[in-house]
């Protein structure tokens, strides 16, 4: 490392409030900005979930805090819930927050490769957020064509009643994708160019690998949907007929473009979640990650396979039925690399002496919930079974089991674990444990019974199930689910209170409160501007826990055993 070159280019900690907190190029500040936006959106997304559940359990009554929910508004709520949770909570939380905060710290860099581009990303994301919020208030209301925006529902206003809502929705998505595209360029270039001396590719923490694979998968899959969004905007505003059969187009084209991106997107979210789980498990089990290299290779294979599974969302769309078999096969095959990762996670825990602090509880919860969600995926992935359960609440239960296990369980694990590093204070353990148990119990009480509702035949996105006679038997179950969902949402207060209280008055954190090996714990909590007092030199992989004959049971990545043994000589 050329220290002189770095010193010449290093710029001091900016003093001005605006440069420090608002227009900052510091990756840690940018990560916190993303965190603030993601938590804001999570609250709004949670509120839409409450309204959806209220309407299902007590159709056409006044919901507390909102009022009567019109069928058109219900469609808008369903659309916005999906859009918000996937694109404005999951993506910023798992990729932007943890990727931005941890990649430079974990590889021993002072900042991202392109700090100004990083600032541009977060501001484009903020702009996308504003555009999406605006869509609630325009004539015709928020978009109501479903979060997948299938034409003709999204192409013609007469079908879903939206006016400018869908246009703004498309613009917001395109901006959001552009923001994460720039973020991906930054992540990859940073990891390629700015690793500290000794930080070889196979000494990188798993989380960094997962972020990088996710970034590649995202960047190679998002282009077609950006183009598709432009085509849909043209169909709506310029009279083109890309998705209109009357003019020679095909509505299925959108489904292909959407899911060619949409399915890889699932793994873009999933992989960083796995990364968080693995980091946390290794630390609290005090064991090396089992099968570090196979996990990375398996994740790459899964990333590759994710490009050829997309049509499993479209078995009943009217596409050529001969495609169902090949896409069933690839879908089942993709469970092989993920099976390897999950088994490695379990093997990491095997025979360890775990300590059950809050991050560990959430990581274990994430694992359990994900395994269950992964198993129901086998039903959805095989075309013959999917024909029966397609677009029912079984599918809704399935993807909430996989996504919530990642976004919220793994996300919370990461937040509780890295909170001391981000803000310099510890979160409260007791409140954290209460938060975990309430979340875990109520989560399963909401989405477990939902499988039964789905097998009972209840379709997604219907605003009033009571108008169907064949759905009468699932009504009590629906009311139970709604009650549990409200309790699940209320339990999140434990996190909100803990977060805000710890931010202001939590116990001051030491540099390495969890006794971890990775580089971010070698600097102070929170790290100073430009992260490290001196560029760290890396001597080992990230997971040397419970090392025989070592003084402590862990060896940090920058621990130089030669120097230490020389120092020990008389």
């Amino acid at each position: 490392m050329n220290d002189i070159a770095q010193k010449n280019h290093a710029h001091g900690n900016p003093r001005n409030f605006w440069r420090l907190y608002v227009f900052s190029t510091d990756h840690k500040v940018i990560a916190k900005q993303y965190l603030g936006l993601a938590l804001f959106w999570a609250l709004l997304g949670g509120f839409t979930a409450y309204l959806i559940r209220w309407q299902i359990a007590h159709p056409d009554t006044e919901a507390w805090g909102w009022g009567f929910i019109e069928p058109g508004v219900y469609n808008a709520l369903v659309t916005m819930h999906g859009t918000i949770m996937v694109f404005f909570v999951a993506m910023p939380l798992l990729l932007a927050v943890f990727g931005n905060f941890l990649i430079p710290l974990m590889i021993g860099a002072r900042d991202m490769a392109f700090p100004r581009l990083n600032m541009l990303s977060v501001w484009i994301f903020a702009l996308a957020s504003i555009v999406l919020i605006t869509s609630f208030f325009v004539p015709g209301g928020a978009p109501a064509a479903g979060w997948t925006g299938y034409p003709p529902l999204s192409a013609k206003n007469e079908y879903t009643g939206g006016g400018y809502g869908v246009d703004l929705w498309l613009v917001a998505l395109a901006l959001e994708f552009a923001s994460f595209l720039l973020g991906g360029v930054n992540f990859l270039t940073t990891a390629m160019n700015l690793r500290a001396p000794g930080m070889t590719w196979l000494r990188l923490p798993v989380l960094v690998w997962m972020q990088l694979i996710a970034a590649v998968v995202f960047m190679l899959s998002v282009g077609p949907i950006i183009a598709g969004a432009v085509l849909l905007l043209m169909d709506r505003n310029l009279g083109t007929t890309f998705y209109a059969p009357a003019g020679g187009g095909d509505p299925l084209l959108w489904q292909h473009l959407f899911w060619f991106f949409g399915h890889p997107e699932v793994y873009v979210i999933l992989l960083p979640g796995f990364g968080i789980i693995l980091e946390v498990l290794a630390v609290f089990a005090r064991k090396p990650v089992f099968a570090y290299r196979p996990i990375i290779y398996a994740s790459m294979v899964a990333g590759l396979l994710s490009f050829i599974v997309w049509a499993h969302h479209q078995y009943l769309s009217g596409m050529d039925p001969r495609l169902a078999m090949p896409f069933s096969i690839t879908t089942i095959i993709i469970s092989v690399p993920f099976g390897l990762v999950v088994l490695s996670i379990i093997a990491t825990l095997w025979g360890s002496s775990m300590s059950f602090q809050t991050p560990m509880l959430f990581a274990l919860g994430s694992l359990g919930v994900f395994i269950f969600g992964g198993l129901t995926g086998i039903f959805n992935g095989s075309a013959p079974v999917d024909i029966y359960i397609h677009d029912t609440y079984f599918v809704v239960a399935h993807f909430h089991y996989t996504l919530i296990s990642n976004v919220f369980f793994a996300g919370f694990a990461g937040l509780y674990y890295w909170f001391p590093k981000m803000f310099g204070r510890m979160m409260n353990e007791a409140l954290g444990k209460i938060h975990f148990w309430l979340t875990f119990i109520f989560f399963n009480a909401v989405f477990g019974p939902m499988h039964l509702v789905g097998v009972g035949g209840m379709m997604r996105r219907i605003s009033n199930p009571t108008q169907y006679d064949f759905l009468k038997p699932v009504e009590p179950l629906n009311m139970f689910i709604t009650l549990m969902a409200i309790l699940l949402l209320v339990s999140q207060l434990a996190f909100v209170i803990n977060f805000l209280w710890s931010l202001l008055a939590g116990k001051v954190a030491t540099a390495n409160p969890w006794r971890s090996n990775t580089l971010e714990w070698t600097t102070s909590s929170p790290p100073p501007h430009e992260n490290f007092a001196a560029t760290p030199v890396v001597h080992r992989g990230a997971y040397e826990y419970s090392v025989p004959h070592a003084q402590d049971d862990w060896l940090p990545q920058d621990f130089d055993s030669d120097k230490a043994s020389k120092a020990a000589l008389p």
């Binding site: 280019h9 360029v185 077609p224 890309f242 020679g248």
Partner: protein
Amino acid sequence: MVTNARTMDGSLEPAGKAGTWWFLSSEIPTFGGLLVSYIVLRLGGSGWAEASSHLNLNIALANTFLLLTSSMTIVMAHAAVQENDHKRAAKFLALTVLLGLSFLIMKALEYGVEIRHGFLPGSGIFWSFYYGMTGLHALHVFAGIIVNLVLCIQAARGSLAPNGHRIELAGLYWHFVDIVWIFLFPLLYLA
């Protein structure tokens, strides 16, 4: 400066180059998705060749020539800056900008001719793709012109970093825009 300061050996080049390549790698699926959609729909449809015969091949040929030449001039700008001749680099960049602008003007004239003949974006699926793909490409040309213009002004003022690697990065992007046109031209005008 902040942006390029942090590569491991302190040099300026690798970060920008890697970043540009990653950016381009995400652009390929964007146009790739459109081209594949076009090809698949065209293979399964009828009347596409007839619609295509109404396009003006001469304007498109001239435009192809302009764009290919501009790819050459930006390479010459890069060669000049490598010899530390920033004035010559500025001249070639100005030429690149002019060629790019001529491309856009010709394209606008061509749109005008087609619209006067009654071929609008809503005149059928071929025209949807024609306006959609060439329009998205024209936006990319426009973005490239702005980048090249900024570099041209910097080179003329002598405020470009000594190794001038930014011209190389702009050139990578400009070649990409050129290559997209090489795909669009035969698929829209010749097939």
